[in-house]
């Protein structure tokens, strides 16, 4: 089973989407922020995909992403940015590098489609 690392500080969002992702055939590992995720990544093999929220305490999506890109072992992991912002600031988005952007208000099927596309 393919593994997905879901990084989001909102426990309700995490729970709700984790259920659906598991139902859709993914093994889901959840982290509440970038620091938790990086700690997990140090100790485990790279997941197939990372689902990344942007607005988080301690270490947000932007910071996680820049640290991910600095690490040759993590750089290549496909990453889907999953945000509740309608219009993330373009200047900040550029710092995210090569990612797919999915809004939390989009249909779940769209999210699933994008995840499957980047892991194909």
């Amino acid at each position: 089973m393919k593994q997905l690392l879901f990084i989001d500080d909102d426990v309700d969002v995490r729970d709700a989407f984790a259920d659906l992702l598991i139902f859709s055939g993914w093994e889901v590992v959840a982290a509440a922020d970038g620091l938790e995720a990086l700690a997990w990544l140090v100790e485990h093999a790279a997941p197939a995909v990372i689902l990344l929220d942007l607005k988080m305490p301690r270490c947000d999506g932007y910071e996680f992403r820049s640290r991910q890109l600095e690490d040759p072992r993590l750089r290549a992991i496909p990453t889907v940015v999953f945000t509740a912002d309608a219009q993330p600031e373009p200047s900040l988005l550029r710092g995210l590098g090569d990612v797919v952007l999915v809004r939390k208000s989009d249909e779940f099927s769209d999210l699933l489609q994008q995840i499957e596309r980047v892991t194909r």
């Binding site: 729970d15 659906l20 305490p57 309608a86 219009q87 809004r103």
Partner: protein, 523 residues
């Protein structure tokens, strides 16, 4: 003796008319003549300065005719004498009958100014010494006359200068701007407006008696002015100063900002005789421009804050909406047993409550901004209300791993707005959860006969002292909004609600040690 008396009299005289008057009167008397006159040359013609004893018709004829052989001789510096006018055709004075006559030139510095003539009613000879005396008198008279004429020319020039000065000052006086004139002789004139700016009554004085401009003027940035930088001083040197902004410290009142133009005033020969400085008081203009800029900045800030708020509100609303939507998808597509279904329904309900709370807050924000917040007071037990809020939030605390210690001491009754007070307690607890760094949070409800109190204490991030009042402002938080959720209006709203109840919401906090919020509601 005669000469000395007349010369002494002439030396005291200042005007040409007085010189003529004295010379004619004294000479006629001294020589026993019946008539005498003094003329000055004016180009080809002559002007009678003084005449005594001659009939008016004779004087008019002389003036009209203008040219006489003896006058031409006098112009050449020669005197004419006759013992009998009727026997000498060059003389024209038959109205007086026969008698002697003489005409002496008024010579000074090798130049003939005019003539003095005497007529007698008897025939007589002029002795040699009499002729010499008359010639000497003519020379003295000419000197006095020359001096007097010079004086007059000078006086006229002075009067013209004075008139020009008055005209300039009169114009300056009526200008709607402040103006000052400094002359090279040191005299100063300031107009009414300038005196007003300087706060003095001094209008006309000289430079020694005027305040030193290097003490009354400075640059807008506060630097002192050296003498060479003073606009009027530069103008006296020939420079033109334009649009220079300076600050005047008046003798009384506040500093004024003025915009100065200054330039030299030159005479016909190009020599600088004075300098004029004109300065407009732009203090109010500058202040207004500054206020406008400030207002514009505030407006821009307000617009930016509103845009930020809308973006944050959108984010905050979409988060529970996304969770709710995902739970509903799960309920629809997943095969769930009763227990799992109940769990999902409970989660969906929780998201609905989150949304409701957010919508309520947003509505209250706009109501408070519009001044339309109306409390729905009812009899409430604050302990019971707090217990309900705790029950609703305890799951969030458990999941986050933050211990919540609740201390209630029996019913605390009062008439309050249930939903609004719930909102305040919810906001305080949510903040404690958000910023408490998973350290224990203490919630306490107490009451005495006057006040009911809710205390929420965490041991987390704390708030820097400079931020402790700001956090109660709208859209403000002491931390980066990117990292922490929420609308950024929770504490502002909570305080507005407390104040609407005539109560208060205050904070004591130490950075990195935690915060203690105190809600006090009158019972």
């Amino acid at each position: 003796v005669v000469i000395h008396r007349i010369v002494a009299a002439l030396s005291k005289i200042a005007t040409a008319e007085e010189v003529a008057e004295t010379a004619v009167r004294e000479t006629v008397t001294a020589f026993g003549a019946v008539a005498g006159a003094l003329f000055v040359f004016e180009g080809e013609a002559f002007r009678i300065l003084r005449a005594v004893g001659y009939p008016q018709a004779l004087i008019e004829r002389w003036t009209k005719r203008g040219t006489y052989e003896i006058v031409a001789m006098a112009r050449a510096g020669k005197a004419s004498f006759t013992h009998s006018r009727l026997s000498d055709s060059r003389w024209d004075a038959h109205e007086l009958g026969d008698g002697a006559a003489c005409m002496v030139p008024l010579n000074a510095g090798g130049r003939a100014f005019g003539i003095m003539t005497l007529s007698f009613d008897h025939v007589r000879e002029f002795r040699e010494e009499e002729r010499e005396t008359l010639m000497t008198l003519g020379a003295h008279c000419a000197q006095s006359l020359e001096r007097a004429l010079l004086f007059e020319a000078e006086r006229r020039a002075l009067a013209a200068a004075e008139a020009a000065r008055r005209e300039l000052e009169g114009v300056l006086e009526q200008l709607p701007v402040a103006a000052a004139v400094v002359r090279t002789d040191g005299r100063i004139f300031v107009n009414r407006q300038a005196a007003k700016i300087y706060g003095t009554d001094i209008r006309e004085t000289d430079r020694e008696h005027y305040p030193d401009p290097t003490t009354t003027l400075k640059h807008p940035d506060g630097r002192a002015l050296v003498a060479d930088e003073v606009p009027i001083v530069r103008a006296l040197r020939g420079e033109v100063v334009s649009g220079k902004e300076l600050v005047i410290t008046p003798s009384k009142g506040e500093d004024r900002l003025v915009r100065v133009n200054a330039g030299p005033v030159r005479d016909d020969s190009g020599r600088i005789g004075a300098a004029v400085a004109v300065f407009a008081d732009v203090t109010d203009e500058a202040r207004m421009a500054k206020e406008l800029r400030l207002l514009l900045d505030q407006l821009r800030d307000a617009v930016r804050v509103r845009d930020d708020f809308l973006s944050i509100a959108g984010h905050e609303l979409r988060t529970p909406l996304a969770a709710l939507s995902a739970q509903l998808v799960g309920l629809r597509v997943m095969q769930l047993d009763d227990e799992a279904r109940a769990k999902k329904l409970a989660a969906a309900e929780r998201q609905t409550r989150r949304l409701k709370s957010l919508v309520d807050q947003l509505l209250d924000v706009s109501r408070i901004v519009d001044g339309k917040l109306q409390l729905a007071r009812e009899e409430i037990d604050l302990s019971a209300l707090v217990r309900e809020v705790v029950a609703r939030l305890s799951e969030d605390f458990q999941r986050d791993g933050t211990p919540l210690d609740v201390s209630l001491s029996g019913p605390v009754l009062g008439r309050w707005d249930r939903l609004r007070v719930e909102l305040v307690v919810t906001n305080l607890l949510t903040n404690a959860l958000r910023y408490g760094q998973r350290r224990p949070v203490l919630l306490k409800v107490t009451g005495d006969e006057k006040l009911a109190r809710v205390i929420v204490e965490d041991h987390g991030l704390g708030i820097r002292s400079e931020d402790q009042e700001r956090i109660f402002e709208r859209f403000v938080r002491a931390v980066e909004s990117r990292e922490f959720g929420g609308l950024g209006v929770g504490l502002w709203l909570a305080r507005q609600i407390a104040v609407a109840h005539e109560g208060s919401l205050t904070v004591e906090s130490e950075f990195n040690r935690g915060s203690r919020f105190l809600l006090a509601l009158p019972r």
